[in-house]
Symmetry: C2
Subunit: 245 residues, 2 copies
DNA sequence: TACTTGTCTTCCATTCACCGGAAGGAGCGG
DNA sequence: CCGCTCCTTCCGGTGAATGGAAGACAAGTA
């Protein structure tokens, strides 16, 4: 119950999220469970320092100083740096939305993303987390995940669209094919009108450290070419990672 | 002098910077001017919440939770979104490092960046700030900045390389040419071996809202082509911004 | 082994900064 | 004008933050 000032201030920051990018003072107080007067004082300090900024409307948003700080976080920074040029190549070759993702516990965490002009409906953003079973990169990461993670993921096969795979047996079969074929696909399982292909990114020879995927409106056309392009890029990333130790 | 707990905790976070991505507890205490015991306790709270993470070596780094939060900051998010595909096009056309920057007071703030395989020595990163007078995008932003900003910038023409323009008269002449010609160039003024070209990005017809630039090893070759490609991209971004209101 | 020098961690009595109810102000819609 | 919601300010009691001191640990030196 003991609530230190620090944790209270942090809880105020925690009230923000992808769905709540801007909040009024009273919303902040409500969402963090603090008395209005207390929230007011703490928000004032956060604002003074630059952790929060205030819109013309009076609502608060995450400030630029936190943006700066966040960019310093070593969240897969080696991976992102190594991958960057290959993502562009891949975009150039496919003109599709490109995704680089890692597994964070039982979710997909998108660490980089590259959107094209003609965008199919894509939900992901850099930093967003999605279920492992409903995305291409997620299936790849799940296929090579340890047993306990797979068990946990199978216990929460939520339906997102009518096409989401929610039958454990069918998903297990798909994962088996991912391991033998070396790539995963989805068809409108996360978002209607969007299909995806993804391949694993390996550091050295064994471990899968990330997944590389693209989102396209239709897969029937030239899946083979897309898979080939993905493989070239994934291998390039892997080599870069290996050479950088 | 009165140092509230909140501001102290924030000061601990502020001890991190591009040059100091990982810090030991004692470094944190020193850099923030806090007694070791106090720093220890506060860092513990920040760590528990996920604002800081701890490396195997025992050093602290910015944690993933702050990374998440930072991504929520509305730092030119409209601009970044509108520009993204055009940056890729520009990279495809030039294979050079591409920069999108805005002016933050008297500095250049890089809001997006796209690096190629063969990278010339480039100092910038997303989120980094550099002086206005020593970079291509900086000169563009300075050329269209209000009078007081220009005055302030002229009062601090620091030398970065032997080629940095530090004479006010010469810089003023260059800015005049930026306005008449519509583009700015630099030659090893920020970093040896790196030249740059940049053009303004206009929303609607008048105001310059950002600058778009590329960095190449040599400019003598095909400056005209590069400027043309930059202009196409900048116009595209401007149109997208205008159509999105 | 004993000593040095640097880390990090824990403890606890003092005190001072945080707390939050209450009251006042500002804006809005009926 | 009243009622509603939001934001801001005030202030006395009190419990959470403070930081010196002491101990634990590791690495380097003689």
């Amino acid at each position: 119950m003991a609530a230190s000032v620090t944790s209270r201030a942090l809880d105020l920051l925690g009230a923000f999220g992808p769905e709540h990018r801007s909040l009024t003072l009273s919303e902040l107080a409500r969402r963090s469970g603090l008395p209005l007067a207390t929230a007011h004082r703490l928000v004032g300090e956060l604002h003074k320092w630059g952790a929060l900024a205030r819109l013309a409307s009076g609502e608060y948003v995450i400030g630029r100083r936190l943006w700066d700080l966040g960019l310093l976080a070593p969240v897969q920074s080696g991976l992102r740096q190594a991958a960057s040029p290959f993502l562009h190549d891949l975009y150039g070759a496919t003109l599709a939305t490109v995704h680089l993702a890692v597994r964070d516990r039982v979710e997909v965490l998108y660490v980089d993303r590259l959107a094209g002009h003609v965008s199919v409906p894509v939900v992901s953003r850099i930093g967003s987390r999605l279920p492992l079973h409903a995305t291409g990169v997620g299936k790849v990461l799940l296929a090579y995940a340890p047993e306990d993670v797979r068990a946990e993921a199978f216990s929460r096969l939520t339906r997102v669209t009518p096409y989401t795979v929610t039958q454990p047996a069918r998903l297990a079969e798909q994962l088996r094919r991912v391991r033998t074929e070396g790539y995963a696909t989805t068809g409108e399982e996360m978002s209607l009108g969007a299909c995806s292909v993804a391949v694993p990114v390996r550091a050295g020879h064994d471990s899968v450290v990330a997944a590389l995927g693209i989102v396209v409106p239709d897969l029937r056309r030239d899946k083979a070419r897309l898979v080939a392009a993905l493989r070239v890029a994934a291998q390039g990333i892997g080599r870069t990672l290996a050479s950088a130790e």
